[in-house]
């Protein structure tokens, strides 16, 4: 127990000076910082929503129907008389869960397959690449919609359908890295020193692939957020009584004509902000971790 605590402390203390040193790394460092700020404030906001939201996000008739933003209802109310501010506070939860879960699935499936296939090489590699490229050739949202429609609603099903779309990008990045790293002298030197294949793969190749994977993970987060929003928007998300920005977009769309702009504007902004946050982290990191791109 104490050991994990000290470990945690050492991780934290190495993270925080790391954050401040990011600012010294120029524009890309700032991109990462701003991205981290956006994402973490949305995560915190969603986490503490039960304590700070003025109303229940799913209780109807807490106020007048389709009331425009006012002091009492800062972001207005929707056609059921639900408080939009409370719905915004709560609504990120589903999207964050889905995107985190799908990124985790992508990572756990895409990285090992990429490592093993490209390290083995030959027929294994070319067959796997062919299958993965076939998936990659489809437009992402279309596959996600097809799979989500097959699996039905639910957080896990949404995450699975999004994961299928993004596994190929993990595979391709890992494969391209492994193909170049496995030819390097230190890998050959390890082999010449009698290292077994799993030692070479997990101690020599994987740690050197990780920086590229980190970048894919953050960019994948942004894509997963947008895809999750897309799925809930077309009604393939989850049951109605869970507050969700994507659902509010669909729901509020029909009232836009009657002038109720606030019902879709604020959820839309939140989705864009969250995706932007992840993209900033990803783009910034990829520039920081890949010095060849800087110049």
């Amino acid at each position: 127990m104490r050991k994990t605590k000290t470990k945690l402390r050492s991780i934290l203390s190495s993270l925080i000076p790391g954050l401040s040193s990011l600012a010294r790394r120029g524009p890309s460092g700032w991109m990462v910082l701003v991205g981290i700020a956006i994402v973490s404030s949305i995560v915190i906001m969603t986490a503490i929503a039960p304590w700070i939201s003025p109303h229940s996000p799913i209780a109807s008739r807490v106020g007048p129907i389709r009331a425009s933003p006012s002091l009492q209802f800062p972001l207005g109310t929707n056609h059921l008389g639900q408080d939009m501010f409370s719905r915004i506070l709560w609504g990120g939860s589903l999207m964050l869960q889905v995107s985190a879960l799908s990124v985790l699935i992508c990572f756990l499936v895409g990285v090992p397959i990429g490592l093993l296939a490209s390290y083995t090489g030959g027929m294994v590699d070319s067959t796997t690449s062919l299958v993965i490229d076939a998936v990659y050739a489809f437009p992402g949202l279309v596959i996600a919609i097809a799979i989500a429609a097959m699996l039905g609603p639910g957080v896990v099903n949404m995450a699975l359908s999004i994961a299928v779309v993004y596994i190929p990008s993990y595979f391709r990045i890992v494969r391209s890295q492994v193909l170049s790293i496995k030819e390097l002298t230190y890998v050959e030197a390890a082999r010449a020193a009698g290292a077994k294949w799993h030692t070479i793969l997990f101690r020599y190749i994987l740690p050197n692939v990780i920086p590229s994977i980190v970048v894919v993970v953050t960019i994948n987060f942004a894509d997963a957020v947008l895809t999750a929003a897309g799925l809930t928007f077309i009604g393939l998300g989850v049951a109605k009584n869970i507050p969700d920005w994507g659902w509010d977009l669909t729901d509020g769309r029909q009232y836009l004509g009657s002038g109720a702009w606030w019902i879709i504007t604020f959820p839309g902004i939140m989705i864009v902000l969250l995706a932007l946050g992840f993209t900033l982290i990803g783009e910034g990191l990829s520039e920081l971790l890949n010095p060849k791109l800087q110049r």
Binding site: E188, A189, R191, R203
Partner: protein, 325 residues
């Protein structure tokens, strides 16, 4: 029984554009504690020959024929797991480029710990680290450097670390593949002196691969001169220095500057090594050879015994050759 015995070894690279015979009909042996130099130009097959001793010829290379015996065990058909226990423990290999030979994400100490524990799983990490510190001291590197990452060390230090890794398990044979090519001349001397000192102290045999015949002449008991995958000359170094027999060896020796002959003109061997996908018929060297005869263009010469353990592959020393002279 010699430590290493290579018998009519053939290694091919089966590329899509054709097959390259990278090593042909190579036979030699090495005793415990002996040093052997492999000299040759780029592409002469010296690294391929070195790597085939630990059976790590890179794809698409294959050992097509012959035997490599280490302590009497033929390794050509040995199962991979037994091969792994030979690599690093019995035979160690030092690669050419020290800048990329260490894993950039692992500390120096971790390299030693992993190597030692791969072959001696019972050794604790702390013991392995202690041994690593001793080795570093022998190499003239501060033991504290064990916690450094490879990028914190200079090229010469990294090559010393590579040598330290090679001797860590006290192998019988160290193969050093152009260990100093990437380093400047002063560091070169230091590294080679270090290798020689450690070799004597530990009683290891050494195969030194280099394109620089002068380094090899200075430091090896026996010398093999390779050209286009074939052994052109094989002799002990004194004999080779005194009486180089093959025109190619003579050319190589004439291209080494000699400080005592101040008015000496350095000569170069004209032309360039052959395209190995389509080597010349007959002797591989005839297009560049100033002694080339009719027979050299038609028949491939055999490696013949010139004197006791001085072998040469040239028609000038052949019965047939003398007749047509």
């Amino acid at each position: 029984m010699p430590l290493l015995e290579i018998e009519s070894l053939e290694v091919d690279y089966r590329a899509s554009r054709g097959t390259v015979h990278a090593v042909e009909d190579a036979s030699f042996s090495l005793d415990k504690g002996e040093t052997l130099g492999l000299a040759g130009e780029s592409g002469s097959g010296k690294s391929t020959l070195g790597l085939s001793i630990i059976r790590l010829v890179p794809y698409p290379g294959v050992i097509t024929n012959g035997h490599v015996r280490i302590d009497g065990t033929d390794i050509v058909k040995l199962p991979e797991n037994r091969m792994q226990s030979i690599r690093g423990r019995k035979v160690a290999y030092v690669f050419q480029d020290p800048m990329t030979s260490l894993n950039p994400v692992k500390r120096i100490g971790a390299h030693f710990v992993e190597l030692i524990r791969t072959h001696e799983p019972d050794t604790s990490a702390a013991d392995a680290l202690g041994r690593a510190k001793n080795i570093l001291e022998n190499l003239g590197i501060l033991p504290e450097r064990i916690n450094d990452y490879p990028h914190q060390l200079s090229g010469g230090m990294r090559q010393r670390i590579m040598i330290g890794l090679a001797i860590a398990l006290n192998p019988d044979l160290v193969i050093a593949d152009e260990p100093t090519t990437a380093l400047d001349v002063i560091v070169q001397q230091k590294i080679l002196d270090l290798v020689e000192g450690l070799r004597k102290a530990y009683g290891m045999a050494l195969i030194l691969i280099s394109h620089d015949l002068s380094i090899i002449l200075e430091r090896c008991d026996k010398i093999i001169v390779l050209y286009a995958g074939q052994i052109f000359e094989y002799a002990n170094s004194k004999e080779l220095h005194k009486a180089p027999s093959h025109p190619y060896t003579q050319g190589l020796l004439h291209s080494i500057p000699n400080i005592e002959l101040s008015d000496q003109k350095l000569s170069a061997i004209p032309g360039s090594p052959p395209n190995m996908l389509d080597p010349p018929k007959g002797c591989r060297f005839w297009p560049r050879c100033s002694y080339a005869m009719e027979i050299c263009r038609i028949t491939e010469p055999e490696l013949i015994d010139l004197k006791k353990s001085h072998y040469v592959r040239c028609f000038l020393y052949n019965q047939e050759g003398r007749h047509s002279h």
